[in-house]
């Protein structure tokens, strides 16, 4: 048994670096020209984006018949992808807002980056419902406003609640992210020698002068925004789960859906953040800021939320049997042993079994292993949405209309494109804004906190 020193707090930032060095390290990627690796990476992501663009262009030209969507599986991959990407976004808000309210200092190094991912993931997600309506140029009608046709949106539809929930979530996340950036803009403004950059940073910093009063207001706003973002993040995926759960379709209508979807979203989001951060900390030399301990903590959250998701799967199965309702029982047996059994078992092994390996400290702290597990988690969570959307629809109440859903190449093209968009935005982010909060990191370096001890 190892002896851990419980009397001392573990430092969030390793090695007590001088504050000046933190400025240098974090702003370095912004002050240097992109290197070869960056161009290689962005060429890959842009190619992916291009594939998506072509697939989408073809869909606009020839129509949505290019997709696999058909009766009875009318929702198909676009909705699978939508739920997947909205879910990815959740980790960002959890890290930046909820862990902030919990006063978890280890969040500091990763919060900015995760918030950025939230914004990009929600942007990516937003594309799918728009294209899925078939005529995206009419999407404006989703916004309720008094009009000459006396035409109103269907307020009782959770699809409309989605419009409100996701757009509110995006707006608040963006403001939260920007507010956090203000002191950093000021720091960059002081550092830069480039005139154009100076103007941009000056505008971004809103006249920040690091005065006591500024900090006081900043802390207050940040706390309030965190308080706003916390219920919002829960509401978004709750409403996404309502899209399914308020219907009467077996496999969709089950009361555990809201908390189960939220746990699943945080689960996949953390896996994605962990995957990307492993590269970022290595390439930008942030290993002392985003420490192994931080990654371990993230893996613990992946384990926790993964277990919650496993609990929900088990509960659904048990209650389907316990309910004595025949369509319910059939749906779950069909999931596990029907034509989509392959997808179901990919989901179970990736989501329930693989994160359980994080019980072992050795695995939690070995970077290549945790990377692979987090990739599995992302794959598993995509398949979870696939299983939910497709299996329930493909075999609904009317056996005569049952059909097997097969996604087409165009479907996959758009999926690849969504990854392309997300990672392209992420790469641009790494070279334009500080991916780690300079101001916040300085506050958690050992020795920078005011001492509370009574001397």
């Amino acid at each position: 048994m190892s002896t851990v020193d419980y009397t001392r707090e573990i430092s969030v930032i390793e090695g007590q670096p001088p504050l000046r060095e933190i400025d240098e390290v974090i702003s370095k990627p912004l002050e240097t020209k992109p290197d070869k690796k960056f161009y290689m990476a962005i060429s890959v992501t842009l190619t992916m984006l291009l594939i998506g663009g072509i697939a989408l262009g073809l869909s606009f030209y020839y129509g949505t018949g290019l997709w696999g969507n058909n009766n009875p599986v009318g929702w198909g991959l676009p909705i699978v992808n939508f739920v997947f990407w909205v879910g990815i976004g959740h980790a960002g808000t959890l890290i930046s807002a909820i862990l902030f309210l919990f006063r978890q200092k280890w969040r500091t190094g990763i919060a900015r980056f995760a918030e950025g991912m939230t914004i990009f993931a929600v942007m990516t997600a937003g594309i799918f419902p728009l294209i899925h309506v078939g005529r995206p140029w009419l999407a404006g009608y989703l916004i309720p406003y008094p009009n000459q046709h006396s035409l109103w949106v269907n307020f009782t539809s959770p699809l409309l609640w989605d419009v409100f929930a996701v757009s509110t979530y995006f707006a608040v996340s963006f403001i939260f992210w920007y507010v956090g950036l203000i002191p950093d803009f000021a720091a960059l403004r002081e550092r830069t020698t480039n005139k154009i950059k100076k103007v941009i940073y000056s505008i971004g910093s809103l006249g920040w002068r690091n005065s006591n009063r500024h900090w006081q207001h900043y802390e207050m706003v940040y706390l309030i925004l965190a308080g706003f973002a916390t219920p919002l993040v829960l509401s978004v995926h709750t409403i996404v789960s309502f899209d399914f759960a308020i219907s009467i379709l077996p496999g969709w209508h089950t009361t555990i859906f809201p908390p189960y979807f939220v746990a699943g979203a945080v689960f996949s989001g953390f896996a994605m953040v962990q995957n990307v951060l492993i590269f970022i900390r290595k390439i930008f030399n942030y290993e002392h800021i985003i420490t192994l301990k931080t990654l371990e903590n993230m893996n613990k959250i992946i384990l926790l939320t993964g277990s919650m998701v496993g609990y929900a799967y088990a509960m659904e199965f048990f209650i389907a049997w316990y309910s004595g309702v025949q369509p319910e029982q059939f749906t779950f047996l069909n999931r596990a042993f029907g034509p989509y059994a392959w997808a179901y078992w990919i989901m179970v092994s990736c989501n329930v079994i693989s994160p359980q390996l994080f019980w072992f400290k050795k695995i939690r702290t070995t970077i290549p292993v945790m990377f692979v597990i987090a990739v599995f988690v992302n794959v598993g969570m995509w398949f979870e949405r696939f299983v939910i959307v497709v299996t329930s629809l493909s075999r609904d109440y009317l056996p005569s209309s049952w059909a097997y859903f097969t996604p087409t190449l165009t479907d996959f093209g758009i999926l690849i494109g969504s990854f392309g968009l997300f990672f392209t935005l992420l790469l641009i982010f790494t070279k334009t804004l500080p991916v780690v909060s300079i101001a916040e990191v300085k506050a958690v370096v050992d020795g920078s906190q005011p001492s509370h001890k009574d001397h």
């Binding site: 851990v4 419980y6 009397t7 089950t254 809201p258 908390p259 277990s307 209650i319």
Partner: protein, 395 residues
């Protein structure tokens, strides 16, 4: 380490009337409960179920809070973890509340009637899970598991008082990691067995989570009340301040919201889908006067504590915290009443002295268990390596 802390701490006894109030409530409750069983057997059995669920909430919920502190590596709650441990000892009296249930299974659970099951296809389908033998096995198993982890975890914590060995903390972290998933499953199936199966046709996948949220809230309310009460009287240890109060208040506030979120999710989805095999459960809680209890539940369990603990100063105000803790315990009893009693009486709300007798016994039992433990043991885990950090805790 332990020497340094033991100079900070000297044990101060609870005021004498504290134990006396507990014993008095216990005695009065016991007499009333015995009387109640003579007067109305079935009605008492249902109330007994409320008693059982309440003691489970406090005992098992408190053990969960202790385990969470270990597993999460929290330090703010270390100075008063022992208080929560005392409440976890309520686990030891759960069997006493469970035994009367065993003798009244037929009055409580419709599915125990063989002739009813024979006529009902759905109940027959469930009979491999809902049958008396397996039901009893499960009760014994749940309680045995809770006993086991209670003894294992508390023993290490107590041993640390004298030895101050950090290895005991490591051991408890490992035990907690095992306990928490087991807790999740046992509390879920206990709530399905003891409450959901009262209406054996009804089902809801979120039910375990719903009960869990109330459990933690009730356990936390007891801890909050006692910690604030003892600390205000200077009976704990020097160093517990507003920062700790705030954290307790925030913890309560979070679970008030969590409960409301889960309760709303369950109601909303069933109401919207409007399937008769699910809605009848909520209809039962709307007709025959139950509407008033349902509305009161929303106000008592959510609206009042939400606004009562929303603002920052209110989470640090000792009077507010103590009041809200008692309020939340009351709300939890109402919640259990709302869950259990409509099965007993569909067309009227039974409110009489019998409904008072069992909560009196419940509160009396918890206070008595607490005061016995508090008399024997240190009120603060003085050997815990995290204690100093816990006392230094600032927001």
């Amino acid at each position: 380490m332990s020497n340094e802390n033991s100079t900070l701490y000297s044990k101060k006894n609870l005021p004498g009337n504290f134990a006396k109030i507990g014993q008095m409530l216990l005695a009065v409750g016991l007499i009333l409960v015995v009387l109640a069983y003579f007067v109305d057997h079935t009605r008492s059995a249902f109330n007994n179920l409320i008693l059982l669920m309440f003691l489970t909430s406090i005992g098992v919920g408190s053990l969960f809070l202790v385990a969470m502190e270990y597993l999460g590596g929290a330090v703010w709650s270390t100075p008063f973890r022992r208080i929560t441990e005392f409440f976890a000892a309520v686990i030891l009296v759960i069997p006493l509340a469970a035994i009367p249930i065993y003798f009244n299974l037929h009055d409580l659970f419709h599915w125990t009637h063989a002739e009813a099951v024979a006529e009902d296809k759905i109940l027959a389908g469930k009979s491999s899970y809902l049958n008396e033998t397996f039901f009893i096995i499960r009760i014994v198993f749940f309680i045995a598991v809770w006993f086991l982890f209670y003894f294992l975890i508390i023993k290490n914590s107590k041993k640390q008082d004298s030895s101050g060995d950090p290895k005991l903390t490591t051991r408890n972290i490992k035990l907690s990691a095992v306990f928490i998933p087991i807790f999740g499953l046992t509390i879920t199936f206990a709530s399905i067995d003891w409450v959901m199966s009262l209406e054996p046709h009804w089902f809801s996948t979120i039910f375990g989570v719903y009960f869990f949220s109330g459990t933690i809230l009730a356990a936390l309310a007891f801890t909050t009340f006692i910690v604030v009460y003892m600390n205000e009287k200077g009976l704990l240890i020097k160093g517990i301040k507003k920062d700790h109060y705030y954290s307790l208040g925030a913890y309560l506030f979070a679970f008030i919201n969590f409960w409301a979120y889960i309760a709303f999710s369950q109601y909303m989805l069933i109401w919207y889908a409007n399937l008769p095999e699910e809605t009848f459960w909520f209809l039962q809680r709307w007709e025959g006067g139950w509407m008033y209890i349902s509305i009161a539940l929303i106000i008592i369990h959510f609206v009042v504590p939400y606004f009562g603990l929303l603002s920052q100063p209110s989470k640090m105000n000792p009077k507010r915290l103590m009041f809200m803790s008692i309020w939340i315990l009351f709300a939890h009893i109402i919640d259990l009443y709302w869950l259990i009693m409509p099965t007993y009486s569909k067309d009227s709300v039974p409110l009489g002295w019998i409904e008072l007798a069992f909560p009196i016994l419940a509160i009396g039992a918890v206070i008595t268990v607490f005061s016995i433990k508090a008399k024997k043991e240190n009120h603060v885990p003085i050997g815990d390596p995290k204690l100093k950090r816990g006392l230094d805790f600032r927001l």
